[in-house]
């Protein structure tokens, strides 16, 4: 097994899992928001922020993947195709915090955001409070991203 392709698997995992999490995460509150807007079109502004919040995990995964590709020399044309297996595993391991935390937190955040969208229909003035709760879930996606960033950075 070539270490480079293990590192590339890490790149894929970071972008893929967070992307899956965010697409599910945005999909659920977006449907709820569509339902609310069918009755109350004036609630668009209040529901929009709740719908887009779970999309951030996908960006964290994408940035982590880009950073890994940069470290692998893919943008400078200095790719080491004979990378050692152990080094490849380091990249893969470094991708896991952002990938797993991104996937799980996006889905859980979407449930908070869906509740918020439903609340926006009944008590629009309380929407921002739910945004704060949703941001609490986001914290763990950020921690995962920072951990991955530091782990990638530490790879020689």
């Amino acid at each position: 097994m070539n270490g480079f392709w293990i590192a590339m698997a890490g790149v894929g995992v970071a972008a893929l899992l967070t992307g899956i999490g965010s697409s599910i995460g945005v999909g659920i509150p977006a449907r709820a928001a569509a339902g609310v807007l069918s009755e109350q079109p004036e609630r668009f502004g209040r529901t929009f922020i709740l719908v887009v919040l779970p999309s951030t995990q996908g960006f964290y995964g994408f940035i982590a993947a880009m950073f890994m590709m940069m470290k692998l020399g893919m943008f400078s044309g200095s790719v080491n195709f004979d990378m050692e297996v152990l080094e490849g595993i380091r990249y893969l391991m470094a991708a896991l915090p952002v990938a797993i935390l991104g996937l799980v937190s996006a889905i859980h955040q979407s449930l908070v955001c869906t509740s918020g969208v439903e609340l926006a229909a009944k008590q629009p003035e309380a929407t921002m409070r739910v945004v704060i709760f949703a941001v609490m879930v986001e914290t763990y996606a950020i921690l995962g991203f920072v951990t991955s960033f530091l782990m990638i950075n530490a790879i020689g």
Binding site: A32, G35, V36, S38, E39, L111, T114, V117, E118
Partner: protein, 328 residues
């Protein structure tokens, strides 16, 4: 179904509907609004007060004394909207089945009396009334869904073996209905709602038969199967006096209902309050079909409350008496 399947399949399916329902819930009539409606001087004023509610469009152009037509139209529209929103024929089939059973009971009684009872049928059933009328006219009962076919067959059999007693026909069909409602729904919330409804109906039946001194004679036929408290358990308890009934229900959630055992109208109200509190238990759920089912039943209760206010106003019943009868 595991957690991820739940999130990806179930929630995305009902998320849109739930968003719509949450937006509509703010239009549900509050206790304060009901009190304002009760204080209306007469039916005309009541209809005017309902103008800006979901019922305004159904009531504004009709004769105030034909309010029932307006409320029925609102009810039909409610079921149609829920059908479109949930886009789940299986759930709607279970929700509408009780009207199908009502319709076959009516049509069977019409058949027995050799009279046309079509006007007493409800349009809320899953099977169209015209289709049912055609089946009964041509006696093509095998064309009915199997649960309705079974109800007709057993209802007719019970009717003829019990001296042509129409009450027995009701008991028999209700029994198949209870069995159907609790067996064919894949939704636990809906099944549990019907189970509680069956338990409460059985408790009311026991009390009624007790006071008519016909418990021993009719309990076996009148009690419904499918509740949390098994019909067989009730029959084994062999109630011969109220004390035994109290002891039997002591450890159940239904025990507080026995406080009103001497007044059937109060008992009915307390039973409805218990059912509504079960429905409201899912108010804070943000996913799944449960809040949608709950909304449907709560709206049905709202329509029933409005009917009570209309009846009260037409018959000059005191506001306080109407207020006592409402379930909010």
């Amino acid at each position: 179904m595991n957690k991820f399947e739940t999130i990806s399949v179930l929630d995305t399916k009902y998320a849109y509907a739930l968003g719509c329902i949450r937006a509509r819930e703010i239009r549900l009539l509050s206790k304060k609004r009901f009190e304002e409606l009760i204080s209306s001087k007469d039916v005309e004023e009541l209809i005017a007060a309902l103008h800006d509610t979901d019922y305004g469009q159904y009531l504004h152009s009709i004769n105030p004394y034909r309010y029932e037509e307006g409320l029925e139209r609102a009810r039909i529209e409610l079921f149609n909207e829920m059908e479109k929103l949930t886009d789940d024929p299986e759930i709607m089939k279970v929700l509408r089945a009780r009207f199908d059973f009502h319709n076959i009971t009516v049509l069977l009684k019409g058949k027995i009396a050799e009279e046309d009872y079509t006007s007493k049928c409800s349009p809320l059933g899953y099977q169209s009334v015209d289709e049912l009328v055609g089946i009964f006219k041509e006696e093509r009962y095998e064309d009915l869904p199997f649960y309705l076919h079974k109800a007709v067959r057993e209802g007719v059999e019970a009717y003829f073996t019990h001296n042509h007693n129409p009450q027995i026909l009701n008991f028999s069909i209700d029994s198949i209905m209870a069995e159907t409602l609790t067996s064919y729904s894949e939704n636990d919330f809906l099944t549990n709602y019907y189970k509680i409804w069956i338990d409460i109906t059985n408790l009311k039946t026991i009390l009624r038969l007790f006071f008519l001194e016909r418990y021993k004679e009719l309990a076996n036929i009148a009690l419904l199967p499918g509740g949390f408290i098994l019909r067989e358990e009730i029959l084994l308890a062999n109630f011969d006096r109220i004390q035994v009934l109290d002891d039997f229900y002591k450890r159940t959630v239904y025990y507080p209902l026995l406080e009103w055992k001497d007044s059937f109208s109060d008992l009915e109200r307390a039973a409805e309050v218990l059912l509504i509190s079960f429905l409201k238990s899912v108010s804070f759920e943000s996913i799944g079909v449960e809040p949608i089912i709950s909304y449907l039943f709560i709206r049905e209760n709202e329509i029933r409350n409005l009917r009570l206010i209309f009846i009260g106003k037409i018959n000059a019943v005191k506001d306080e008496v109407i207020k006592e009868r409402l379930i909010v």
